[in-house]
Symmetry: C2
Subunit: 288 residues, 2 copies
Amino acid sequence: MERIGFIGTGVMGLPMAGHLLDAGYPLGVFNRTPERAAPLLERGAVWHDDPASVASASDVVVTIVGFPADVEEVYLGGGGVLAHAAEGALAIDMTTSSPLLARRIAEAGEERGVAVLDAPVSGGDTGARNGTLAIMVGGDEDAFGRALPLFEAMGSNITRLGGPGAGQYTKMCNQIAIASGMVGVCESMHYARAAGLDPARVVETIEKGAAGSWSLSNLMPRAIAGDFAPGFKIKHFVKDLRIALDSAVEMGLDLPGLTMAHALYAALEAAGEGEDGTQALLRRYEQE
Amino acid sequence: MERIGFIGTGVMGLPMAGHLLDAGYPLGVFNRTPERAAPLLERGAVWHDDPASVASASDVVVTIVGFPADVEEVYLGGGGVLAHAAEGALAIDMTTSSPLLARRIAEAGEERGVAVLDAPVSGGDTGARNGTLAIMVGGDEDAFGRALPLFEAMGSNITRLGGPGAGQYTKMCNQIAIASGMVGVCESMHYARAAGLDPARVVETIEKGAAGSWSLSNLMPRAIAGDFAPGFKIKHFVKDLRIALDSAVEMGLDLPGLTMAHALYAALEAAGEGEDGTQALLRRYEQE
């Protein structure tokens, strides 16, 4: 079996790497905060002190780190994956990150004989734990075939949508649709409450028709009940929307809904609510 | 059986009145454009020359007309329903209209011994034809009980959400959620295309997760394929969003997503696209 190196064992990466152990892969790991990798080491994974060491000891490197700047450093830095992976290795970045950066990394990989896929996920920590993540993949078709058994260990809805960057672009499509949708469902609930309606009954009434959405049915009942626990944290959503906005600007697109949703969520983060779930947008309206 | 008077036999009202005939109710009808009522007259409905005549000949008056101004005239005008209905009559306005107007009409009805319900619908002309409309009802509970057999002839998801105006407020909650949701899915599809992705495959990939919505799954495949036939016409959506905005202002609410969605759709209507379906918002982006 291929030797896997896993970089980034946070709330998403830890259970994802666990599924690779479950599937029998030899696993080397690195994480900026070493303690978080402990559950994997107890199960036989091997610790490495830096990304370079992980890369040189692995056939396939999987990364899921924080921001595009982290991805850039882990891949393109002097101590990074591409400088230390063997020719013929495969690298898979599962961070939600910049599409153009994904293309740059894929190009740099090609020069060194390292195939690179961008493969961001959706489904949150629950999906990561249950192995039911959606995985949106961009990159070479042969590399995708090689990665598929790993993806199948971690997710259940796995699609390759094009060449390098296509996974990231698709993830941005996902976040763009959610962003304005959240504005709509939160404004709907705020209006319901102001009108003296029972918002929970409004959800039950309108979710069956053209207003139906995952956000309405899954997040609004929580928000109405004052439950703002994440789900998906506002600080991570703001990061993603910022990537989407930057990417839209790179393509010369004017997306006013995305721009507004980003501003609303960024204001919540600035107000100290970054650790709350995205449904806490409802609070922004109630503070009027 | 109660004698029904039906005012407004347009694209929604005509099939709705037809279901009441199917259920065996004696039916009197009036419509501003008389020819549109012809299919009902052929089936035994009785023509009336004005709303006053319909009202004085009926136990229950059902209205579904155009704009709040039309509702006001039909109910509160000198030749209107409330001036001519018998004491003990029931009036049901199924137009999507102003919540505060619905309250005024209910109060005026109470003074004359006429019970009034506001009962706007969703589900479009397809729902009207198939008798599967969602009916959102506000008003007195006894009046709702009396109206229920009629509602059951016309719809399948029938809910009373509170006193007078609650039906209209709930319909506005529905439209507010849809409005920003449409902005989100259209921006997502526009971004997908600009990024070189196949938008139809993006829909298939993201609709199963947190980005899933009725609008994404049902309207975006049509929009992507260049099919802008209504569904629900932009000019009617602009009317509804205007009512929602006015109503939000009356309650002192600031709903930036609704404000933006209204502006985007109003611009499309001003550009002559009022007869297209709401999915034609995608065109606004493609004309950049």
